[in-house]
């Protein structure tokens, strides 16, 4: 791997309408790395990647987010996107009056490239429809990844990219995610990194993700090798991690005095 810092999150605290949803998150990612965030519903996984993207109503009240060495706090969503941050929404809104074609045109994306990528994802018949207008769950996921393929971000934020899709779609989505993360290149040439939020872990098999985290109540309770964490969660739920996290918290509280 190249080793250049891609994303640095330091002691990040995020609030929504005065309520703390992320509490002291630390994360450091280098180019080519994939970090995976697990956690029960409502633990703050989506909040984390939405806060990185700068989406409302997530308000950073403490800490920092640096992308390629520069703070992106205070930058509007579109500037973060143009710098190279790309988000695949878990539940994208329907934008009835804007088609993928129109969006591509507005972004200056070559029409032939758009058509080819759409066809590759089986979305050729959807590019002139309103975005997410009547799309099935699987079509929404494919549309999100298609937009990221066109956008070519340097930092990918994938919010449950595989949830609610059938086995065939999962194969296709996994292949696209591997391509987005340059899994076709030798490790040292990979420059794209990202965070994957997942419930099922089924996209992780061939990705060789770098690090995994378990987020509970807005805090990272444990971290380690993603597949190990996933296996542990599959076997025992979040119990072991919670116990580990509580010990860490106690040590943390003790050190803080």
């Amino acid at each position: 791997m190249n080793g250049k810092p891609l994303l640095q999150i330091e002691n990040l605290v995020v609030e929504v309408e005065g309520k703390r949803v992320l509490d002291g998150i630390d994360m450091e990612m280098r180019e080519g790395e994939i970090h995976v965030v697990f956690g029960p519903n409502g633990s703050g996984k989506s909040s984390l990647i939405k806060a990185i993207m700068g989406l409302p109503p997530y308000r950073v009240t403490h800490g920092g987010i640096r992308f390629r060495g520069e703070s992106i706090l205070g930058l509007p969503i579109d500037e973060r996107a143009r710098l190279g941050v790309g988000l695949a929404f878990q539940q994208p809104p329907a934008v009835l009056d804007v088609s993928l074609s129109a969006l591509g045109k507005a972004l200056g994306i070559d029409k032939n490239r758009l058509d080819a990528e759409a066809a590759g994802l089986g979305m050729g018949g959807h590019i002139n429809r309103g975005l997410n207008d009547g799309f099935s769950g699987g079509e929404q996921k494919r549309s999100e990844l298609l937009q990221l393929l066109l956008q070519r971000p340097k930092l990918l934020l994938l919010d449950e990219p595989e949830s609610g899709v059938d086995v065939d779609s999962l194969k296709l989505l996994t292949a696209v995610i591997e391509r987005l993360f340059q899994r076709d290149l030798p490790i040292r040439e990979r420059t794209i990194g990202g965070i994957i939020v997942t419930h099922t872990g089924s996209v992780l098999k061939h990705l060789h993700a770098t690090r995994g985290y378990v987020l509970v109540n807005g805090r990272i309770m444990c971290s380690g090798a993603p597949l190990d964490i996933f296996d542990q969660i599959s076997a025992n739920g979040f119990g072991n991690c919670l116990a580990e996290g509580r010990v860490k918290e106690k040590i943390h509280d003790f050190l803080k005095g």
């Binding site: 993207m53 989406l55 409302p56 509007p76 969503i77 579109d78 996107a81 143009r82 790309g86 988000l87 929404f89 994208p92 809104p93 934008v95 009835l96 009056d97 804007v98 088609s99 129109a102 969006l103 507005a106 972004l107 309103g130 975005l131 937009q147 956008q151």
Partner: protein, 365 residues
């Protein structure tokens, strides 16, 4: 007789003077003088009403048969006129006119008043696409356009009537329109108004007989200081009649009343209405008044309406792809207005696309 400085205005409303776009007939009224009235088709008469009253005396029997002269002060004004100007269009029986006919009403003299009475007759089994552009000369700031139009779509005939309005900020527009669609006939109305105007109120009434169809499709962009009271009324009188009213409204520092009434009055009648509006600022008012009236049990009427500002989550979504907020807003509005109208000639679709682009670049971005 045309003036080069007005040429742009006329092409902006779909009236082609160059001859490059195929047209079956042309009519140009400058204030109250018909300067062009010509048809290339034997089965299509395109003339001024003043000449038609002399050459086709039966036309006088049609006047005021669909619009009550006592409707309001504007119909009374037209009725009180000795010999109002206007456009007479007559398509003979079973004639299917291949290329669109075009007419244009130009307010040329400043502070002038255009008082018109138009008659359009499509005989049984005939077909016509009529494109009407209404506009004011570029130097014209004020004026009034008052027009009574009566349209007769005879048995099995089809009229597609596309009207593009491009007025001036101080112009008042008062069209009063009545339409009859006879058995198995079709009347499709496309109304496009995307530029500033002081006041437009129009609420045409179409009566649809057995097996007939009427559809109103309106695209409005009400700009600063404009007042629109625009709608359509469809009375489904005959068995199996169909009606549809679709309107898309964008309002910025302006007021729009968007009306629609569908009355189901016979067996197996169906009507549907959609009123959608986008508010661009807190000085805009959109008042959607969709009305359904069933006076016969076996009728099926429905409507949906949605009015509001652009949803923040839609803007954020597009911004997450790299568009600025202004670009995202503009893209949504452009898509909202850019409804592809079925059967519209490519040249006119281009005119509408251009108007939308110009409207967007001037106001939204």
């Amino acid at each position: 007789m045309t003036f080069s400085k007005d040429k742009l205005d006329l092409s902006r409303v779909g009236y082609d003077e160059s001859g490059e776009t195929p047209r079956s007939a042309s009519f140009l009224l400058e204030d109250d003088t018909a300067s062009v009235a010509a048809s290339k088709e034997r089965d299509l008469v395109m003339d001024s009403m003043r000449r038609a009253r002399v050459g086709h005396p039966w036309v006088k029997d049609l006047e005021w048969s669909l619009v009550d002269p006592d409707t309001d002060e504007f119909t009374r004004l037209v009725a009180g006129h000795d010999d109002p100007a206007g456009n007479f269009i007559h398509v003979l029986e079973r004639a299917k006119i291949r290329f669109p006919a075009q007419s244009c009403f130009l307010l040329k003299a400043d502070r002038n008043e255009q008082v018109l009475h138009n008659i359009i007759v499509l005989e049984p089994g005939s077909e016509l696409h009529l494109i009407t552009g209404c506009t004011a000369a570029s130097y014209n700031n004020a004026g009034r356009h008052i027009a009574v139009t009566e349209i007769f779509v005879r048995k099995g005939a089809t009229l597609t009537y596309t009207m593009v309005h491009d007025w001036a900020p101080e112009v008042e527009v008062r069209p009063r329109t009545g339409i009859i669609v006879e058995e198995g006939g079709t009347y499709l109305s496309n109304y496009i108004a995307l530029t500033r105007v002081k006041h437009i109120d129009t609420n045409p009434l179409v009566v649809v007989e057995a097996g007939g169809t009427a559809r109103f499709n309106s695209i409005l962009y009400a700009k600063e200081g404009s007042f629109f009271d625009v709608g359509g009324r469809i009375r489904l009188l005959g068995e199996g009649a169909r009606g549809e009213i679709i309107s898309r409204v964008v309002a910025a520092k302006s007021t729009v009343i968007s009306r629609g009434l569908i009355e189901g009055g016979n067996a197996d009648t169906k009507g549907h209405m959609e009123c959608n509006g986008i508010m661009l600022d807190d000085q805009a008012v959109i008042h959607a008044i969709p009305e359904l009236k069933a006076i016969y049990p076996d009728t099926e009427l429905s409507h949906e309406a949605a009015v509001g500002k652009i949803a923040g989550e839609q803007l954020n979504y597009l911004m997450a792809r790299g568009l600025t907020e202004e670009m995202a807003r503009s893209l949504i509005i452009r898509g909202f207005l850019n409804v592809k109208i079925e059967g519209l000639p490519v040249s006119l679709q281009k005119v509408i696309d251009t108007m939308i682009e110009q409207a967007m670049t001037k106001d939204v971005v």
